[in-house]
Symmetry: C2
Subunit: 199 residues, 2 copies
DNA sequence: CGCCGCATGTAAGAGGTTACATGATTCG
DNA sequence: CGAATCATGTAACCTCTTACATGCGGCG
């Protein structure tokens, strides 16, 4: 017999419930919410959102209604029920589960001698580019937060999560520069960019 | 018909192939390898390792032999084949896929007004404790690297991945302190630690 | 002798992504 | 009118974790 494991409960459910705190939204709206405001720490796909909404509804944690206002095509809007808000609150109070690390770039770098310095440098440069884009995005997001019509308290929390992204991204960028410096030395001393160059 | 997606190929396979670069190991050895040397950027469970080893063997990317030396019970040792090493090399050269972010602490913090400042502070303190432990572990790992009988080049790559963990952890710790300072102010101004205190 | 660590596996199921499928509306 | 975006879903598939299952060897 399999025991229930409360600690590994479906987090998508709660991400959705939380995203509904500020009023009713469609599945599509929720997707955009994740992409625009929460992309630096959470992602959900539509193939996960729609079935989960159905399930939440069958558990009475959300309610839905049809909306055809605005003349555009009908949308299905979901809102939190009292039970849904309580379920969210209970989950929020639980201590967050530690994340299990999985970083493909570091994995490849760990096998550096097999990859070769030139390959490692390429990967790091690509990573660096993505980090720089991300960093710019964070600055833009910070500006948008202040334009939102929500409480100062809510904005403070949003800024905090964003600040985490900014600080961590900056740290990664600093590390990138250091790593690239190291690898360019290493590449020069092991000759012609390492193993892959032997082919 | 479903198209094949090369970019989302099973990374467990390559993590195992890479971990076999320095000689033959059993499934159990591999698990320890991940736990001890790669825990800051990669994790694999035994329920993933054993089936994957079988699969790699059927694809001739690894070979195995039985070992009963040392008087202890028999172990099954796996080693890279030439094809396995080539498959690893090819994968290493591919540009790493961007990681999709999922950070439960930040998700909960994002819903801070519903959680309440006191809850947020508790979660952050727990997070901080884990980070401090992790930071200490990194220092210990740095010392161990130099004791390994491998090339200076290999050690350089290991140090680089470790440095990433150290820098990012330090950044997170700095952020934690800032966030706690902010929340203690917020908690004082919104009274008695927020929503949960109302129950 | 009982527990812990070593060692190897399998089974069930949750969770998640991508592609497929469909259709409306809007805008150039 | 064609493309992009809005909008809602389903199907197939993969990955991964957890629990189950089993047994040996060493040590206190």
């Amino acid at each position: 017999m399999y025991l229930e494991d409360m600690s590994r409960e479906n987090r998508t459910r709660y991400a959705l419930l939380g995203a509904l705190l500020h009023g009713e939204k469609s599945g599509y709206d929720l997707k955009k919410e994740f992409e625009h405001r929460m992309s630096h720490f959470w992602a959900e796909s539509l193939g996960q959102i729609y079935p989960t909404l159905h399930r939440l509804r069958s558990e009475k944690l959300v309610a839905r209604r049809s909306d055809r206002s605005g003349g555009s095509r009908a949308r299905t809007l979901y809102r939190l029920t009292t039970a849904g808000r309580r379920a969210l609150s209970d989950w929020l109070a639980e201590s967050p589960a530690p994340e299990s690390a999985r970083n493909e770039l570091l994995l490849k770098l760990f096998f550096g001698p097999e990859l070769g310095a030139s390959g490692a440098i390429e990967h790091l440069e690509g990573y660096q580019d993505r980090l720089i884009d991300q960093r710019r995005l964070f600055d833009a997001m910070a500006g948008e937060i202040d334009a939102q019509a929500v409480s100062a308290e809510q904005r403070a929390y949003w800024h905090l999560t964003l600040l985490s992204g900014q600080e961590v991204t900056d740290a990664r960028l600093r590390w990138c520069r250091k790593a690239l410096r190291t690898l360019r030395h290493l590449g020069a001393s092991t000759g012609r960019g390492g193993r892959r160059a032997e082919r």
